[in-house]
Assembly symmetry: C2
Homo-oligomer: 659 residues x 2
Amino acid sequence: MSVSIKLIPTRVFHRVHETCKDEIQKLTLLADMCRANTLAIVKRAGSGHLGTSFSSMDLVAWLYYRELNTLEVGLDSPDRDIYFSSKGHDVPGLYAVFHALGVLSTEKVLKLRRLGGLDGHPDVGIPGIESNSGSLGMGISKARGMSWAKRYRNNGGRVFVMIGDGEMQEGQNYEGLHAAVQHNINNLTVIMDHNKVQSDKLISEIMDLGELETKIRTFGWHVARCDGHDFNEIQKVMAELAKVEDKPKFLIADTIKGRGVSFMEHPAALEMGKGLYPWHAGAPDDASFIKGHDEMLHRIDEGLKAAGLDPLELVDVDEEAAKKTNLEGEPVSQAAPLRKIDKAAREYVTKALGDALVEQGEKRDDLIVLDADLAADCRLRKFETTYPERFVQNGIAEQDMVSMAGGLAHAGLLPVVSSFASFLASRANEQIYNNATEKTKIIYLNHYAGLIPAGPGKSHQSIRDISLFGALPNCVILQPACGAEAKMVLDWCVEQATDNCAIRLIIGPSPRLLELPADYQFTFGQGVALTEGNDATLFAYGPVMVHEALLAAEALADKGFKLRVINQPWLNRVDNDWLKNTIGDQKNVFVVEDHAPVGGLGDTLLNAISELGMAGDCKLTKFAVEGYPACGTPPEALRFHQLDGAMLATRIQRLCQES
Amino acid sequence: MSVSIKLIPTRVFHRVHETCKDEIQKLTLLADMCRANTLAIVKRAGSGHLGTSFSSMDLVAWLYYRELNTLEVGLDSPDRDIYFSSKGHDVPGLYAVFHALGVLSTEKVLKLRRLGGLDGHPDVGIPGIESNSGSLGMGISKARGMSWAKRYRNNGGRVFVMIGDGEMQEGQNYEGLHAAVQHNINNLTVIMDHNKVQSDKLISEIMDLGELETKIRTFGWHVARCDGHDFNEIQKVMAELAKVEDKPKFLIADTIKGRGVSFMEHPAALEMGKGLYPWHAGAPDDASFIKGHDEMLHRIDEGLKAAGLDPLELVDVDEEAAKKTNLEGEPVSQAAPLRKIDKAAREYVTKALGDALVEQGEKRDDLIVLDADLAADCRLRKFETTYPERFVQNGIAEQDMVSMAGGLAHAGLLPVVSSFASFLASRANEQIYNNATEKTKIIYLNHYAGLIPAGPGKSHQSIRDISLFGALPNCVILQPACGAEAKMVLDWCVEQATDNCAIRLIIGPSPRLLELPADYQFTFGQGVALTEGNDATLFAYGPVMVHEALLAAEALADKGFKLRVINQPWLNRVDNDWLKNTIGDQKNVFVVEDHAPVGGLGDTLLNAISELGMAGDCKLTKFAVEGYPACGTPPEALRFHQLDGAMLATRIQRLCQES
């Protein structure tokens, strides 16, 4: 990174807070200063959600500077006011506010999305964070639990939860709306950051929310509305809400996505992006960063001058540290939208699969693709634009999408259901089961599977999806290791599979351009050897872990230790004869999982080895993502879990010596 | 069963249909005749949902006799009108209508909830059934898929889906409401059987639906309302809806739960049950059956006379067959509510756990119990009435319940979340994961775990829940084998567990009163031997499978084959030293799962045996629920899956001889 990153230090926030006379002027300045720092730490992190951090910033600033007693009574006080964001991806803005208030150190905010730093989505391990979020739609329910507990314990304090408007498409919100009224929860305020844009399109285009205000009222809530950027209006509406004591409260705050940087503001930004909002996630390129940051700093200095206050002071962020930023493996939308990527050098299995989908779509008109507002990250845009009549946008509503697919399958169509693995395999698990019991065929694309990218944190890293599909009797689970195999996998699922299929895909670029053996025949239950060797055998799957496995083989080769690496794309089906021949008289057999140790390929192999009666002759050892997935850069997370090539080499050699 | 069961044969329905001049009079008679047969087949089956079959009957009769082209164009015609029930438990009424129309034979309807007969909840394998249901809230989404497919394929026919009012508490419905409008689905009609009562209480008492009509309109739907028992009104409203071609249609039909049998009708029945509706599920006792059936037959004969038609003819149901009815293992609410059960002879682990909950509740005021409208089946009533301030009713909204529990846990409370395993572990899986990532402690009660009872069918039989919790790093999964152990399990989870706990429980009575060894110490990761023997070792868990395991041991003992049966309540944790000693030099080791073969105790043991390096000396064989769980009586289902004692004995002996 060539640009230097500057932060407004906490002391300057304190000074403005103490010296600015006009309350509204003060809050406007403080919020804008937090925006400037948000942009800086996201640029530094190389990723993060700017659009929503900016749209919700004025409300968050109001809450912490004017509304909440939290800092006064202490972060651990049972009588504290509680605030958290249900959508969670606006957390960079919240971190900036915490930094302004001295809750988070400068050192800490500079470690956004780094190991031991600040998670890409909220985690309760971080001071001030009240709830883990990032998977959408849970906030109202959770906040209601907190409110219920306060009443039960006779504790003081109110509960405020921020939700997104796109998030409102998740059905759980409506369950929460019902229950809050039934349970007479009156110390709860939901604030909707109504910026009208979800990941990259207008809400109204993806899944319109209908008559929002009336709708919420029919659930029995007190509904208010205000301009989420006008502190006078915010002050007025908060005063009004404070008087309402017999109902849960729902504030619809009309906001502007990207507020604070002219070219990031909707609708201008949406027009610039030709209908696609470019600033939902990801760090801006250097030019955009400098332009946006300068624009804000200039406005802030003007404001300070107008308020008769000293000009801004900035601190330089250590440039060396900045250079450590590693974008490898960030999702498309989380990479800088305007950043130049050398396409030739980078392969995405998601793109390869998206292209294969289009090819299949050309061959057969019964192939229907369903998306839950992740078309860009999941590389479905090409199918969407090529076959708009066969592309179904379900919005952020995975359960509805999966059950709709069940209905399509009944009519003899072949639904291909796509989302992030964490949201699809888990959130819609019962719907997937219900479909499967009908013996129809549906293909589930589980994007963002595995440990990497590790920046976004636990809510997005999917290390349980194999186990969540595994007990379905009629579902084959596969993961391709490269673009070429991605096409083989999809073609097999579409043309040959009779059961349901769950395809796992990493969301980021492949760490290496993998060359599959020229004579590789993609065959049911059979993997393929990528290296030869008699000292040990290592099974791996997916671009990330196959890459690390090959790195391990390379490292061991230098020591004269010959590791045989097997790419096994079939995660819950294995051809026993092939396995018998593959293992042969090999004593030391290993498997590296891009998954938890439970319910992955390791258990499939363990069962097969046991069936084959080979368990006495060979010992299978699993290397897996133990515990919860670490947040950080890919190298940090892989090293933390001892799954990087170097660690795998060390572990394998040690275990072989012991055996 | 001492009463004789009589059915109105199909030919009588045909005769009435052909000879009755007045349309309204005819439909009233046909619907009532179907009700009489519904009561008969449910009594015969020993279980089934009467209240809702009766409340929706007039609407279903209207649809098949007047509205749908389905039978005309054929059940497989792509141009057929499609009808299905999302709630699904009203299927006995639908079967009766199919029988009346000749779609289902008399022999078939007499096999309700029997192997090879009619599933307790809809299954597409049955003629006329368009969708598997029984797990709630999926119908609107699925029906939308069917409607979308008709439009895409230019097929004729409309789609009608029946939903329950209690079911409307599931958030997925609201996702479906949004999408139907966004997708311009106009050939879809949702009919709500608005009988005001959910499993056993008033909707308004459990989770009120607010301003229902206005609410649905805010989503952009055309909403109509009518008396669901008045054929004149039904005719009028259906004609009105037929004219609406620019919106999806939502008909709120006001109905009476139990309609057609005076003492089963709400509100009378609710008063009789002192606030609890007694006829939601389960077969009536003999006296109530005779009383209700006679009342209906009498009314029907009066109606026939008034219409100038011949009196009813009835056919006797083979009494021998009737005697085969086996109620073992049906859930409380599915057993006849007034049936006398010899309590002393029957143990329910659910009751034992419910009692233990009350005891713990007395010791600590931080224990909060959350229910999703299954308090009766899950035996939570005692806690509910003893500690009403600590019992939270969430309605049929598992995701909301689980996330609320997450909020409670943050406040230092200990939430105990209860539902059926199928709905809790699966529907709320992502919410459970989100809570678990916060490292709080929550206890999940997974009732109705396993294969038995097998009458209700796939939607209720939970054979995947261990696998759905298994990959969480911080969740201990347990299942008690008897009432005494149920208390040990709960006490351990409440008092000693630091991680989350998932407790599996069978919903029915224990097949035997199990005596645990007097010196049994409930110890982390350690099971206990129930029989001694050196010929083979069989691990089992839960009352159903431990019983079958002991039956196998008894059968084998007669042949001089000594089988050691180990009760292992720890399903994903095992004490390796204990396991090493327990297996010793035993070559033949078996495990019987009340679960699918993937992700259960077998995989836990397989991993431990591999770690211990014992895999070469002993061979572990799994006996599990292969494929989808069979529907039928417990003996039928256990035999079908070769998991009954006799089959286990045969399989074990054969495998030992082979080894």
